[in-house]
């Protein structure tokens, strides 16, 4: 059996500029970091099984790969040419729809796991690119490339998306103190609202021609964010997140909604320096950066607001940063 995992990520600024409609016109750029929440895939060759057994929120037993309903498992197997009878299951610390890039981490995990099963050793770039191809070109998801790259490379990175489809990966060489201190200034809450990124990004994609200037100004924030991060200016980072969030809300009507706005306002009113909704928006997780001393007050206030809004699944999510991308956790295959 092969067990493989890829981390989820927190995107800070520049999100949306990784959509081809934007970076074909002007270079896109994002800054993100991977966290200690993972998507796992287990691959178990089972020669006597009559086909493929896929285990996720449901169980699928099919004779041919092409009959699989799970689109990412199906297309990754088809793309890599895996035809053997096998069980393939997935486990995750967080459900899909939390804005942490889970579906792309899943695609990356599948590419790494199934290529390892075939005895192939792929470069990180190849893994990320194959995952992008499967999700964007084959499955026609209206998403960008940042999550596949973040999950593959791991750690704090900036990614630049060029019009020729190349991606420049620049690791941010952040010392342990800044990374741990950033964790101490962060608060992440799951709103209890699960949403599909594609529903938000579809409108955002259509709007790109009118929003070029907004997106360009968000791209400009990436380098500023990086400098403040390396300096450990957490207040400055919070303010930048706030600025980025105000811009992001303009990209599409469904990036925010009244619940998110009320939660965000309560966090800010109780002392947060800034924050944002993680991922495409419309639900998922909210991130705040705040002074250490204000964290307890903010926690109480947003929980109270969530209760008032009837968000029964609202919950704080403890987060740590990790520096390793997609990885084989264990492999008992000889090759």
């Amino acid at each position: 059996m092969i067990i493989v995992r890829a981390p989820l990520r927190i995107s800070f600024v520049g999100g949306g500029s990784d959509l081809p409609d934007f970076y074909h016109m002007s270079p896109g750029k994002v800054i993100s970091a991977t966290i200690d929440k993972y998507v796992y895939v287990a691959i178990n060759p089972a020669p006597l099984l009559k086909g493929i057994s896929a285990r996720y929120s449901i169980n699928e037993n099919v004779k041919r790969v092409i009959d699989l309903k799970n689109d990412r498992i199906r297309e990754t197997m088809l793309h890599l040419g895996v035809e053997d009878n096998m069980e393939i299951g997935t486990f995750s610390h967080m459900p899909v729809g939390t804005g942490l890039g889970g579906s792309s981490s899943f695609a990356v995990t599948l590419v790494k796991g199934l290529s390892t099963y075939l005895g192939q050793r792929l470069d990180k770039k190849d893994i990320a690119e194959i995952a992008c191809k499967i999700e964007i070109d084959i499955l026609k998801e209206p998403i960008g490339k940042q999550d596949q790259y973040a999950a593959t490379f791991g750690g704090f990175n900036t990614f630049q998306f060029n019009s020729d489809e190349s991606v420049d990966v620049e690791p941010i060489l952040l010392d342990y103190k800044k990374s741990l201190d950033l964790e101490n200034h962060m608060l992440v809450f799951f709103t209890g609202i699960l949403r599909k990124a594609s529903s938000v990004l579809k409108e955002q994609k259509t709007n790109i021609p009118q929003k070029m200037d907004t997106l360009k100004s968000m791209v400009d924030l990436v380098e500023v964010f990086k400098k403040k991060l390396i300096r450990g200016d957490f207040e400055g980072l919070g303010k930048l997140l706030h600025e980025n969030w105000l811009k992001k809300k303009k990209l599409a009507s469904n990036v925010s909604n009244s619940e998110i706005d009320q939660l965000y306002t309560v966090g800010m009113r109780n002392g947060a320096w800034g924050g944002k909704v993680l991922g495409a928006g419309g639900g998922g997780c909210i991130l705040f950066l705040a002074p250490f001393k204000k964290k307890e007050i903010i926690k109480e206030a947003v929980h109270e607001m969530a209760k008032k809004l009837g968000l029964s699944d609202f919950k704080q999510v403890p987060i740590k940063f990790v520096h390793s991308g997609v990885e084989i956790v264990s492999s008992s295959l000889f090759n």
């Binding site: 050793r121 990180k124 750690g155 010392d175 342990y176 741990l180 101490n184 084989i328």
Partner: protein, 201 residues
């Protein structure tokens, strides 16, 4: 004598001032990622560089955790290659000296590991053989070299080059030891801070 001492120190100081900071930072980033995924770190070199490799292993496996030996269940897994003199001589005698590192490396190497190759010239055939094996396995390589860097500096993912005239082994090996201790101290401080940080939370 005074003149020799002065001139040697002057050259060493200049080399220290020109060290590639970004590459050293990249190496520390890679070591951090390898630690987090519980990967293994293989270190090797010839002659004085083999002594440094052994020193590196001792510092990583023990010294960085010195203040928390009872706390850290997850530690670095640094391995000097070859691990025994018997393997070294067996590979050298039976197969060839160019296989003394690549041979044993093949026994261990798996996804998620890391290689640190030390060579003053950067051209030792046995070092290059092992680095090529790591590259074939898509394992990241930190190349610690001197002189012009040689093939090692070309192949390595992280290029820590102490750029000197050819044959300046003493200077290069001395600076390599400083780099090792700089990295050791960084991780020692990291585990101290992590410990303090947990008690804050």
């Amino acid at each position: 004598m005074e003149k020799h001492i002065k001139s040697y120190i002057k050259k060493s100081v200049k080399l220290l001032q020109n060290l590639p900071h970004k590459e050293i930072a990249k190496a520390m980033n890679l070591l951090q990622a390898t630690y987090e995924r519980d990967g293994r770190i293989y270190v090797f070199g010839n002659g004085g560089s083999l002594a440094l490799a052994t020193h590196w292993v001792a510092d990583f496996n023990k010294t960085v955790f010195s203040h928390h030996l009872d706390k850290n269940t997850r530690r670095f897994q640094a391995i000097r290659l070859p691990t025994t003199e018997e393997e070294l001589t067996a590979w050298a005698n039976d197969v060839g000296f160019d296989m003394v590192f690549a041979g044993p490396l093949r026994n261990y190497l798996r996804d998620g590991d890391l290689v640190i190759a030390i060579s003053s010239s950067g051209n030792s055939p046995n070092i290059i053989k092992a680095v090529e094996l790591a590259k074939e396995y898509k394992i990241p390589v930190i190349g610690v070299s001197g002189f012009e860097g040689g093939v090692l500096n070309e192949l390595a993912d992280v290029k820590i080059l102490v750029n000197t005239d050819k044959g300046e082994y003493e200077l290069v090996e001395g600076i390599h030891a400083v780099i090792l201790h700089l990295i050791t101290k960084y991780f020692k401080n990291y585990f101290d801070y992590l410990d303090k940080n947990i008690s804050i939370k």
